[in-house]
């Protein structure tokens, strides 16, 4: 067995736990937009119920990481791997929370017909989901090229967000009776935009992991 074989196995396990949480958040985010589009309240409730799993996974990652620090006294890249895992887990857990928020908005909109097709929201969601997948790949491969690409994708989401909010405000002028729904749709846009920001934070963590210095990709 290599000198730190057990520690290497533990680090791998930490990485796998994180990817599992990431995969959970991916599914939750996908289902949240599907529930919105199909106005499926059952599905929305399911997302809310399932979120406790994300919280448990998040706590498990934290406990595992803290134990690794206490027992293995890591330095340099090993320490960064663990610190980064804690930070990324917090970001992913937050993204799962946004899926819950979207589900709650879906429930508030209820069965009222949608004021307009959610084309932009779906586009924002598509890019955010791609970002999440790419961020997990970048983390798994420790690939800084992929991580840097996430910053550009976040800019696209930001642009779409601005554009969608402007559209919704315009509709509000024409159909003020839909204000509660328009508000909920605006919130959903905001949740997606924030989710993309959290993914950009993940990208920063990956850069820190690989390069050992802090980067700000939100500039």
């Amino acid at each position: 067995m290599p000198v730190r074989g057990k520690f290497d196995i533990d680090l791998k396990e930490l990485q796998e736990k994180l990817l599992e949480l990431g995969s959970f958040a991916e599914t939750a985010l996908s289902k949240s937009i599907e529930a919105l589009e199909t106005q499926n309240i059952e599905m929305a409730l399911e997302i809310i119920d399932d979120d406790s799993n994300a919280n448990l996974m998040y706590e498990d990652i934290n406990d595992f990481a803290i134990l690794l620090i206490a027992k293995q006294q890591p330095v340099a890249i090993d320490l960064r791997r663990i610190i980064v895992a804690i930070k990324i887990a917090a970001n992913i857990e937050r993204i799962a929370d946004f899926a819950v928020n979207i589900a709650k908005s879906t429930i508030r909109i209820g069965s009222e017909p949608l004021v307009k097709p959610i084309v932009h929201i779906k586009e924002m969601h598509k890019i955010t989901l791609e970002m999440l997948k790419l961020s997990l790949e970048a983390f798994n491969d420790e690939d800084i090229i992929k991580a840097k690409k996430l910053a550009d994708m976040d800019d696209t989401v930001d642009d779409l967000y601005g554009q969608t909010i402007r559209d919704l405000m315009q509709i509000n002028l024409q159909k003020p009776e839909y204000l509660p729904q328009i508000l909920q749709l605006s919130f959903i846009c905001r949740y997606l935009e924030r989710a993309a920001d959290h993914i950009t934070n993940i990208a920063e963590s990956i850069l820190f992991l690989v390069k050992g210095r802090q980067y700000d990709l939100n500039k």
Binding site: P2, V3, R4, F7, Q73, P74, V75, A76, I77, D78, L79, K211, G212, R213, Q214
Partner: protein, 275 residues
């Protein structure tokens, strides 16, 4: 200003050279192209190291890498080993310690050493500390009393032994004996303290006491410590040199070595992947 006395330090903030700061610190030891052979065995290869005053410099590396050989060269203890040859230069305060005119006693008055295992003399605590000053001709009881008290206080052991100064030093615990040896070293008012794995025979609490002591001592002395305990090097030193197979692989700020070492071999060693 003497070129060797001038030090330019570039402080790296988040990896970028955002702040360039000039510091003037004296070089205590300047090692220049040092090579050392035990017979045919080339134990130290082209060592270049600058040791600055009032800093703790840690030397780490796997067994047999030359770190103890290097530290023993700094006070010429290595000459006790038969068949040792050296080339290159070690300047202590600007003067080559290998010069024929340089008396080894003179050097060792300025450079104290603490060893792996505590080695008090089979004498009283008081006599252990007073031994060095007496050899240097101090006979006045009052002055000796003062030196003993100051040294024991300096080694953070005074409170534990002040009421039993005339008891045999062997009655002390291992940790206390090691601090007594440090006090003995301080009594001759050295400039540099060499420590060769000073805590490897101590329990964890005694180890932490010695580490705290090192932090205090560096205000007055320059300290060079060989340690197998990498966390110890990370905790107490300002600079760290990583030795491997008789070469210095990396020598830089301790913060840098333990966060983002430049050489893959250093990273593998400090993360425990080999050695």
């Amino acid at each position: 200003m003497n070129a060797t006395m001038e030090k330019q330090r570039v402080r790296i903030v988040q990896g970028e050279e955002k702040q360039v700061e000039m510091e003037n610190k004296n070089i205590v030891y300047k090692t220049d192209q040092l090579n050392l052979w035990y017979g045919e065995n080339h134990a130290l290869k082209n060592i270049n190291l600058d040791i600055y005053e009032n800093e703790v410099t840690a030397i780490i590396g796997p067994s047999g890498c030359g770190k103890s050989t290097y530290i023993k060269t700094l006070n010429r203890m290595i000459e006790l080993v038969p068949g040792v040859k050296t080339s290159g230069e070690i300047a202590y305060r600007g003067r080559n310690i290998f010069d024929r005119s340089y008396g080894v006693e003179e050097l060792r008055t300025k450079v104290g050493m603490v060893f792996q295992k505590p080695n008090p003399f089979p004498k009283s605590i008081y006599e252990n500390v007073a031994y060095g000053p007496k050899i240097h001709g101090i006979r006045d009881k009052k002055i000796l009393d003062q030196i003993v008290e100051k040294s024991l206080k300096g080694a953070a052991i005074w409170d534990e032994v002040k009421d039993r100064l005339h008891q045999n030093a062997y009655g002390l615990s291992g940790g206390q004996q090691q601090r007594l040896c440090i006090a003995r070293c301080l009594a001759i008012e050295p400039d540099v303290i060499l420590m060769d794995e000073p805590t490897s025979a101590l329990d964890p609490i005694s180890t932490l006491k010695v580490e705290e002591l090192v932090q205090e001592l560096k205000k007055e002395f320059s300290i060079i410590i060989v340690t197998h305990n990498m966390q110890q090097a990370a905790r107490i030193s300002d600079k760290t040199a990583f030795f491997l197979n008789g070469e210095v692989i990396e020598f830089t700020d301790t913060n840098k070595i333990f966060s983002t070492p430049s050489d893959k071999r250093t990273e593998d060693y400090i993360t425990g992947r080999f050695g």
